[in-house]
Amino acid sequence: MSKTLKVRYFAWVRERVGKPDEDVQVPAGVVTVGDLMTWLASRGEEYAHAFENPKVIRAAIDRAHVKPQASIGGAAEIAFFPPMTGG
C-alpha cells in the first residue's frame, strides 16, 4: 500500500532537487520524516545531493515544523529546507 504526498523544496534543497514541488508515491515502509529523506535520497543523483547531509535539513508537515522522528502518517504536504535565515 502506498500513499500520495505533496513534497515541497525550498532554497538550496529546491535548487539541488531541481523542482519546487512534486507529488510522490511513498512506499509503505516509509514511516517517519527521516525515513522519507532516506527514501528520497535514493531516487537519483539530484536527490542524493540534496539530502546528502540530512542533519542540516529541516522539515515541516502541513506547514508546521517537525523533527525527523515525526510520523508522516496524516500528512498532506511535507516540505524540506535548510535552516531559516529570515528576519
Binding site: F10, R63, H65, P82, M84, G87
Partner: protein, 162 residues
C-alpha cells in the same frame, strides 16, 4: 487584554512610522512604542553584495509568524503588534522586515520586539540568497541566532514544537 495583531508577507516596501501610528492613533493607553527595522546591508561576511533575494514558504510563513505574535501577546501585556516581512529581491539600504510593539510600559514593548526578532530569525520559513561577485550564495544560519532564540525557551513552551 486583547492585543491588536497584524502580520503581512509582501514584496512591496512598508512604512514603519505609518504602521506604528495605526496601532497608537486615537488611544491614550499606549505609553511605549518599540520598532525594529531590518535593512539589507551591502556586505555579507565582509564581502560586498549586489542584492539579496528572500525566498519564503507561502502559507507557512504567515502561520509561523502569527503563532509567534500570539505567543508574544500571551506573554506580555501588549496593545498591538505588527510584523511585516518582505520577499523577493531587495537592494542594499532597502528594508527587509519590521516589527512594531505597543504597550502601556516600555519593558513589555522591548521584550516582545526582541523575542519576535529572535524567533523570526530562526523559525520563520524565509531564506536569504545574496549576489556576490562570484555568484549567488545562500546565507548560512548563524549559531548566534539559535542561541538568541534559546533565551526565550525557559518556559518550555517552545520546546515541544522544535
Amino acid at each position: 487584554m486583547s492585543t491588536i495583531t497584524n502580520v503581512r508577507i509582501q514584496s512591496e516596501p512598508f512604512d514603519v512610522a505609518a504602521e506604528a501610528s495605526k496601532l497608537t492613533r486615537g488611544r491614550t493607553d499606549a505609553g511605549a512604542v518599540v520598532t525594529f527595522t531590518g535593512i539589507c546591508r551591502g556586505d555579507e561576511n565582509g564581502e560586498p553584495i549586489a542584492a539579496l533575494t528572500l525566498e519564503h514558504y507561502p502559507g507557512m510563513a504567515e502561520t509561523e509568524i502569527e503563532r509567534h505574535v500570539a505567543e508574544a501577546a500571551a506573554r506580555w501585556p501588549l496593545i498591538g503588534i505588527t510584523v511585516i516581512h518582505r520577499y523577493g529581491r531587495i537592494l542594499p539600504g532597502d528594508d527587509i522586515m519590521m516589527v512594531v510593539t505597543v504597550s502601556s510600559h516600555r519593558a513589555a514593548a522591548f521584550a516582545a520586539a526582541d523575542f519576535l526578532m529572535d524567533y523570526l530569525k530562526t523559525r520563520a520559513p524565509f531564506w536569504k540568497q545574496v549576489e556576490k561577485a562570484d555568484g549567488k550564495i545562500w546565507v548560512e544560519a548563524k549559531a548566534a541566532d539559535d542561541e538568541a532564540a534559546g533565551r526565550w525557551t525557559s518556559s518550555g513552551k517552545h520546546q515541544a514544537a522544535e
